[in-house]
């Protein structure tokens, strides 16, 4: 068994690691440094940073709800990729099928929207 097919993958790993290290390493030399309060604060995923995590480090359940909705709708769209690749040979049949598929996804979206699944508060 030859390992040669894995050489490009290992090369890819090395490139990715190198890029990450390089970005962090050269940023202080290239970028201008003008700090303000907001920049110095810890980044906490868009919410007010707090020294004590809210509720003992537990994330509010709303995040999960939104994340779950995002994941489900995001993943559904995976079927668009094979369709996009073979769009020409699938022709009208594929187009109509895709419209139907997107229609069903939109029905779910309409339900979530109307029933308040997208409201934050």
């Amino acid at each position: 068994m030859s390992l040669s097919p894995y050489v490009p993958i290992i090369g890819m790993f090395a490139l990715a690691a190198g890029f990450a290290v390089m970005s962090v390493a050269i940023a202080p030399f290239l970028g201008p440094r003008r700090f303000n309060k907001a920049k110095l604060a810890a980044y906490e995923c868009g919410i007010e940073p707090s020294p004590e995590p809210i509720g003992g480090g537990r994330v509010p359940v709303k995040f999960y709800l939104t994340a779950m909705l995002f994941i489900v709708f995001d993943i559904e769209i995976i079927f668009l990729y094979p369709w996009a690749v073979s769009f020409d040979s699938l022709g009208l049949f594929g187009f109509v099928e895709m419209l139907l598929f997107i229609g069903t996804v939109f029905i779910a979206y309409a339900y979530v929207w109307r029933r308040g699944g997208l409201d934050w508060d």
């Binding site: 073979s86 020409d88 040979s89 699938l90 022709g91 049949f93 069903t104 029905i107 779910a108 309409a110 339900y111 929207w113 109307r114 029933r115």
Partner: protein, 510 residues
Amino acid sequence: MEDLSLPKIDYAAVAPMLILFGVACVGVLFEGVLPKAARRVTQLVLALLGLVAALSVIVWQSDTRVLTAGGAVAIDGPTLFLQGAIIVLGIMALLLIGDRAMEHGGAFVAQAAITVGSEADRKQAVKEQGATEVYPLTVFAIAGMLLFVAANDLLTMFVALEVFSLPLYLLCALARRRRLLSQEAALKYFLLGAYASAFFLFGVALVYGFAGGVEFGTIHDSVTESTQSTVLLYAGLAMIAIGLLFKAAAAPFHVWTPDVYQGAPTPITGLMAACTKVAAFGGLLRVLYVGFDGVAWDYTPILGVVAVLTMLIGAVLAVTQTDIKRLLAYSSIANAGYLLVGVLALSKDGLSSTMFYLVAYGFTVIAAFGVVTLVRDADGEATHLSRWAGLGRRSPLYAGIFTFILLAFAGIPLTSGFIAKFAVFGAALDSGEAWLVVFGVVTSMLLAFPYLRVVVMMWLSEPGESTPTVSIPGGLTAAALVIGVVATLVLGVAPAPLLDLTTSAADFVR
């Protein structure tokens, strides 16, 4: 890019599934746009109309025998018969689900997201109408089952398995009373179900590696012709069988059954006991008869042991139960064993008798859970067996109906249970599986004991302080009960038409 040849789709043949999926989608849309007050009636009517429309298409298409959608779906005798059975039983279950006469707001919780035991929960338990999402969910589940029994390749089968399982997991969590029990049942069902379906999928991948395709025709050809190592094949078949036997509630994959049957809202338990069983055995029949018939000699002894274990565990543990829903759950496990005996006959008779058994059992079990929804006290359904003592004095009619149902389960002549057991055991004897029949008869006698105990309790005990009242059923439950009991009686007295139908339908296309 090479030209793709588009699959030919026989739209008339797959119309029942398209109708039901469409109805379910429209139902979801209605949930979003309709005002609260109008939802329940609209959803119930829409779901019933959809089911009736799908059933009429099946009857109209009853001579169709095609492979369609690029070989992914097989519409043949067994498919049409089982689809028809699932829809009829689904209509009965939907009638139970839709009834709100016995309890204000119906058997389902209004807002499943409200924490159990909180102030808001107490308020909603008294005031709010039940959630109407149950109707589209039920239709999705039934549509998934239709696709499951029609699936002619393992991937379609897996997709259909998930399509009918996911709504069922959610439906289990929606009971109005005893919400804790209901949510915990849903969690157990979900975790074990997801685990089993992962095994099923692993089996699919292994078989794909062996056969180079997942259509049953391809698998059949490579099973008979292939010269390569069969390790992948056997490992794959074993794992696929695990996934299917889990849904069919066969031992040793039955452990979820009593908890889930007890915790789920009773109408949903009826749906699971009747329709899921039909779907699971429909899938199992197709896998074993069409895809893997070339290795029948190798899997028959193993599945035979599974069948014997299932019958023994179901019958023995049914004796020790003190809750009527758990008793019916173990009875359902034992019945999965009898069905497996029919499946393992591996003949045309085996196929037709199994299909007959599924229908007969389905009618009876939905009627049984229908009666369970009626026996209630202030806290909801009184499911503990001791509470049923003396019910015969309180309400001779419903105690009589339940007695008849239990006798049908026990396989007393003049009920459908007798004819069904007779048919599967006969088919197994003809195929030389006498050992299975011996176990079948012994466990049937064993299983008659818990049934008769309930009968004796209902009629020969004095009603006490705690004997609950039997509610007057609403029109929908009454209709489901009448259909179930009449079908049980008719199939017991004059089974010939349905037996003929199953015999003429007992041919798979490959």
